[in-house]
Symmetry: C2
C-alpha cells in the first residue's frame, strides 16, 4: 500500500510542480510538503462523491493553507474531477483554478488564502454537520504551520474542543519554513502538541512523508470520540526535489528548473484514485428552509423600542417559521438581543464567546451546510472580524451580520464601544447590503428580508429606544427609503438613518416653526441607497440636502448620498454631518450634540442652506 501511496504522492508533486512551472507562479513547495498527507487521505479516508458535491453526507476537505492550491488541484485530477487540460489553465484569467481556491469550483466550500481562516470556518462546518444535522460528514482541514501564529487558529482550537467536534481533523503540515524564513517553532512538534493538548485536542504526531504512518494517524483520528484530532506532520517544504527541499527562498514561486524537477520526481504516473463515496445521504432534520409564515412582531406607533430589541424579536419569529435560521453571538446576546432567539430556539443558538473571528467563521461554516446564520455583536467589535467578512464575500457566502450599539449615541461607555466605521467598512464589502433602520417596525421587516438576501447582509442597530414610526403593514424594500415628511414646496431635504432620522424629524419640526418646509427621508437602506428618492429631493429642494449620520464623515451615509449626484446638473448643496471628533463618555444627547449630528445641528445646517 505504501508504495502505491508514495507513487500517488509523487504524482501530486509532479502535477503541482508542472502547474506552477507553466504558470510561472504559485506555491509548489508548500504543496510538495503535504503530498503524502493528501495522497493517503484521498485514497483511504476521505468520503466524497465528486459527482455530487452537494451531498450532505460528503466529507469536507478544506485547505486552510490555501496557497497550496496546486496540491488541491492535483488531488482533483487524481480523483477524476478535473482534467490535465484544465490543470494547464492554472492561474490564468477565467480559469476556475485560481491562485487560491474559491467556491467557483464546486468542491471548494470556502475561499482560503488569508491564513488562519480555513480551520475556524471548518469548525462551523463541523458544528453544523454534527450538532445540527447528525450527518456522518467528517471535516478534514489542511493547515500550514505558519498560520499557527494567527490568533484565529487558537479561537478555533478552543471552540472545537469545547463543542466536542470529534468529526473534525486538523492536519498541520509542519514544514518548518514560512514565506521569508523559519517559523517560530520550526519542527518543535512537542511544543505544538503540548499547546494543542492543553486546548483539548487529541494530538497525533507523525512523519508526514511516511504513508503508512499517515494512514494510521487518520485511522486514529477517525476513531477518536469526544474531541477533535490534530495530526502534527513533520514534513519538508519542497520535498522530493533536492534543490528546493527544506530550502529558504523557495516560497511562492515556480520550482527552478521545473521540468528537470518533474523528471527527478519520476515524471507522470497516470494514477487514478477510486474515491470512497459516503454511505447514504441523511435528511437534514432542521435545515428545511421556509416551513411556515413569518409572524413578525408588531409595535405600537409612538412607543419607544430599540431596534436591537426588534432585531431579537424578529429573529425569534423568523426562527419559528424557518428551520434553517440559526444565531451566533459574541457573548453579548443580552445586549444585541439575540438572546430572544436564544431563549426561543436554544437548539439553534451558538454561543461563540468573546471571539469575533470565530463567530463570523462559524456563520460562514454553517452556511456551507445550508443554514442561514445571523451573527451579532457590538458593531464596533465586528471590526475584529473584518478580514473574515472580506473573505466571506470571496467565498460567495450568504450570511447576515448585525451590529448593535452603533455610534456615539451609545453614551457613557465611550468610543471603544462605538462603531463609527461600520457603514464604511461594510459598504466596501463585495456583495454587501447595508441596512440601518430607525424604528422597530422597519427593523423587524428588514430582518426578515435579510434572510433571503444573497451575499453579506449587514444591519446596524441602535442601543437607545426610539419611537415606533411605521405600521407593521408598511413595506421596506431593500434599496428603498421612507419619505417621512414632505410637502409640495419643500425647501430642504433632511436625510437620516437610525438614530439621526429621529433628529431629522425633530429638526423638521423646529424648521416648520420657522416657516421652513423640510422633507425628511429615512435612508434605512444605505447600500443600495434609494438614489431616485434622493435625487428627487434635490430636484424639489433646489439641491439643498442635509445628511446626518452617527458615523465618521467618510464612507458612510454621506458618501452614499453623494454618490447619487455623480452625474448631476444644477445646484448641489449637500451638508453632510458626521462625527468629526473623537467622542468621549457622556449622555447620548450630549454626545450627538457635541458631534454636531443632532436636531439642532441639522436645523442649523438647513437654515444656512436656505439662507434663513
Amino acid at each position: 500500500m505504501s508504495d502505491s501511496l508514495h507513487e500517488l504522492a509523487q504524482q501530486l508533486r509532479v502535477d503541482a510542480v508542472r502547474m506552477s512551472g507553466r504558470a510561472g507562479s504559485g506555491h509548489p513547495t508548500s504543496s510538495m510538503s503535504a503530498a503524502e498527507l493528501l495522497a493517503v487521505l484521498i485514497s483511504n479516508h476521505l468520503k466524497y462523491d465528486w459527482a455530487d458535491p452537494d451531498n450532505p453526507a460528503n466529507d469536507h476537505l478544506i485547505f486552510s493553507k490555501g496557497h497550496a492550491s496546486p496540491l488541491l488541484y492535483a488531488v482533483y485530477k487524481a480523483v477524476g474531477a478535473v482534467t490535465d487540460a484544465e490543470l494547464e489553465t492554472y492561474r490564468q484569467h477565467n480559469s476556475l483554478l485560481e491562485g487560491h481556491p474559491t467556491p467557483r469550483l464546486p468542491w471548494v466550500d470556502v475561499a482560503t488564502g488569508s491564513l488562519g481562516q480555513g480551520l475556524p470556518i471548518a469548525v462551523g462546518v463541523a458544528y453544523g454537520a454534527k450538532r445540527f444535522e447528525g450527518a456522518p460528514s467528517r471535516v478534514w482541514v489542511l493547515c500550514g504551520d505558519s498560520e499557527m501564529a494567527e490568533g484565529s487558529m487558537w479561537e478555533a482550537f478552543e471552540a472545537a474542543s469545547f463543542w466536542g467536534l470529534d468529526n473534525l481533523c486538523a492536519i498541520v503540515d509542519v514544514n518548518r519554513l514560512g514565506q521569508s524564513g523559519a517559523t517560530r517553532l520550526g519542527w518543535d512538534l512537542g511544543t505544538y502538541g503540548a499547546r494543542l493538548e492543553a486546548f483539548g485536542w487529541h494530538v497525533i504526531t507523525v512523519d508526514g512523508h511516511d504513508p503508512a504512518a499517515v494512514d494510521a494517524a487518520y485511522t486514529e483520528a477517525a476513531g477518536t470520540t469526544g474531541k477533535p484530532s490534530v495530526i502534527l506532520a513533520k514534513t519538508k517544504k519542497g520535498a522530493g526535489v533536492p534543490w528546493v527541499e527544506d530550502q529558504d527562498n523557495a516560497h511562492g514561486k515556480a520550482v527552478e528548473r521545473w521540468e528537470e524537477a518533474i523528471e527527478h520526481l519520476g515524471g507522470d504516473r497516470g494514477i487514478a484514485v477510486t474515491p470512497i463515496k459516503p454511505e447514504g445521504a441523511p435528511a437534514r432534520p432542521l435545515a428545511g428552509g421556509v416551513t411556515g409564515e413569518v409572524n413578525l412582531p408588531t409595535y405600537e406607533l409612538g412607543k419607544e423600542i430599540a431596534t436591537r430589541k426588534a432585531y431579537g424579536d424578529a429573529l425569534a419569529a423568523l426562527g419559528h417559521a424557518r428551520q434553517d435560521v440559526v444565531a451566533v453571538d459574541g457573548e453579548v446576546s443580552n445586549s444585541t438581543f439575540s438572546e430572544i432567539f436564544r431563549f426561543a430556539h436554544p437548539e439553534r443558538y451558538i454561543e461563540c464567546y468573546i471571539a469575533e473571528c470565530q463567530m463570523i467563521a462559524t456563520a460562514v461554516g454553517l452556511q456551507v451546510r445550508g443554514w442561514r446564520p445571523f451573527a451579532s455583536t457590538f458593531a464596533a467589535f465586528l471590526s475584529r472580524a473584518y478580514d473574515f467578512v472580506r473573505m466571506a464575500a470571496v467565498s460567495r457566502a450568504d450570511i447576515c451580520v448585525v451590529g448593535s450599539h452603533a455610534g456615539s449615541s451609545i453614551g457613557e461607555d465611550g468610543p471603544s464601544q462605538m462603531a463609527l466605521e461600520d457603514l464604511a467598512s461594510f459598504r466596501a464589502i463585495y456583495s454587501s447590503t447595508v441596512l440601518y433602520p430607525s424604528d422597530a417596525s422597519s427593523a423587524a421587516a428588514l430582518v426578515a428580508a435579510m434572510a433571503d438576501l444573497k451575499g453579506i447582509a449587514y444591519m446596524r442597530t441602535t442601543r437607545a429606544a426610539t419611537p415606533v414610526l411605521y405600521e407593521a403593514s408598511d413595506s421596506f424594500p431593500i434599496g428603498g427609503s421612507k419619505v417621512v415628511r414632505r410637502s409640495d414646496n419643500d425647501q430642504v431635504a433632511l436625510i437620516g438613518a437610525g438614530i439621526t432620522l429621529h433628529e431629522a424629524v425633530k429638526a423638521a419640526d423646529a424648521l416648520a416653526a420657522d416657516g421652513i418646509n423640510a422633507r425628511v427621508i429615512d435612508a434605512y437602506s444605505v447600500k443600495p441607497i434609494d438614489a431616485d428618492t434622493v435625487r428627487q429631493a434635490a430636484a424639489d429642494c433646489g439641491g439643498r440636502i442635509v445628511v446626518s449620520e452617527d458615523h465618521w464623515p467618510q464612507g458612510g451615509l454621506g458618501d452614499a448620498v453623494l454618490e447619487c449626484f455623480a452625474d448631476h446638473d444644477g445646484p448641489l448643496h449637500v451638508k453632510a454631518l458626521g462625527v468629526a471628533d473623537m467622542p468621549t463618555s457622556g449622555k447620548p444627547g450630549e454626545l450627538i450634540a457635541a458631534a454636531g449630528i443632532d436636531a439642532s445641528a441639522i436645523a442649523s445646517a438647513a437654515r444656512a442652506l436656505v439662507g434663513a
Copy 2:
C-alpha cells in the same frame, strides 16, 4: 501587611461601587474581583512616578479589561493622582474619567475596552522597554478571563515568550463570569495554566483575594527571568457584596442598592498609598529622534520601480537619519520590502510572523515608548487588524501602516490577496491620513513625510513596477496632488492614484490622438484629498471627471472626489470607475481590463462624457 492591604482593597471597591452607582452605569463587579490584585500591586510592586508619567523608567499599568475602569480610577485616587471630586465626574460628558480608559488621562498608555488588545499592546511596550532601551520598566497587565477567548491574546502569549519578555506580567482576573454567563473554562485554572505553560510562560496560580498570596506572586513574577509571567488569580466577580458576588446578571451595571453596598464594605477608609518611584531615568539609547538629514533614494525618470520597493528603500534611508524609526512586519518582508530596512537596521526590525493583530499591537506599544513604528504587510491582511487600527486611533497613537499588493492588479494570486477595501476602511479611521503614491519618487517622499504625521498614517503600495514619473526634488505635500498633464482647454479630467494613475496617463495619450485634451491628476493624497485641484479641474473641464481606482467603488478615491462637490453649482459629470465584480486570477493587465479601470475603460468613459 495583609490587613492594611485588605483595607485598601475594600477602599478600591467602595470607590468603584460609588463611582458607578452615581453614574448609574459602569462595571463595578468586574472591578471588585480584582481589588486585592491592584491593592497589592500599587502598594508593593508598581514603580511609578505619578507626577511624571513620561518618565521612561516608570513601570506600565495597562488594564486589558478596560471595563474595569472604576477600579483603575480608584487606584488613581489611592495614589493621589485624582481627587474624590474628580471621581464624581466618572462617565460624565467632558470628564477625563471615561467609561473605558483613554490616554486623555496622562497615566493611561493606550485606550482599552475592546477586549484582547491590552495584552498584545503591552507586549509591544515591553519589547520597546527591554529590547530597544534596556529600561528597568516592568509592564503589568490586568486581563479578564473572558478575553482569554480572543485569538489576539494567544498571539500575544506566543510573541511575548518567544521574545523572552521577562519584564512583562499578565494578571488574569479569573472571576468565572462574562457578560451574559459563565466563561468556557470557569475557574479551571489548571487548564489555563497548562495552556500558558505550553505557550512558554511562567505560570503562578493564586487566590486573588488573599493579599499575602498575591504579594508573593508578584515577587515571584518580578524575579522570573527569561520568560514572561502570568498570574492566574481565582476571584469572585462582585467580591465583597453578597448580593452581586459571583452572581449572573450583575455585569456592566451599577451595583443594586449601591449605597448599602458601600456600607457593607465598611465605607470610606481614606487610605493614601505611598507610591514606589522608579530608580533613575535611563537615557533611551536609540530613541533619539531625528539625528541627521534624510538621504532619500533617487530614481531615474521612466525606470520601472514598484512603490513597495521605494517604501523599503525610503524606510531604510529614514532609519539611517532617525534613530527612533522601527519596522514591524507580518512575515512578508520580502514582499512588502520592509526587508530592505531589516537588512540595514536588523536591531530595529521586529518580525511579527503571521499575526497581524500582534503586529499592529506591537507598533502601538512601541509608540507608547516614543518609537516611530512602520508596520507592513499585504494591504488585504491589514483587515485582520482593523479593530486594532480603530482602537489605535482611540489611543491617539501615532503609527505608520503600509499595505502592499493592493488591488486586482496584483494578478495571479487572486482575490484573497487583493486589498480592495483598504482605502475605505482607513479613510473611516479617526486621525487617519491615506496615501497612495503612483511612483517611486513620490512614494519615497511620502514615507519620509509619514514619519512626522500625527495619528494613523496609511500608505498603499503597488506590487507591480511602474515608471518613475517625478524628480527627487519634487515635493508631495500631504493633502496635495500632482497635475501630471494639463492644457488651457482641457475637456475632461482623469483622476487616478497608484496603479490607475498610469492608466489615466495612457488614456490621456489615447484621447489626445482623438483630439481630446484630458487633464490628468495624481491624487496620491486620498485623505485629505486636494479638493481645490479637483474642483478647479471640474471648473475647467465642464464638470467632466473620470476617476479610476483599483478598489471597490465604495468609500475610496471615487467617494473622496465626490466629497469635493458636496457644495457645487453647475454641471457635474463624474464617472467613478472601480472594481465592480469579484476579480479572479489572471495577468494584471487582464484583471484591470476586466475590472473596467484600465486605460481603455478610462478613455471610453472620457469619450462618453465629452460626447465623442
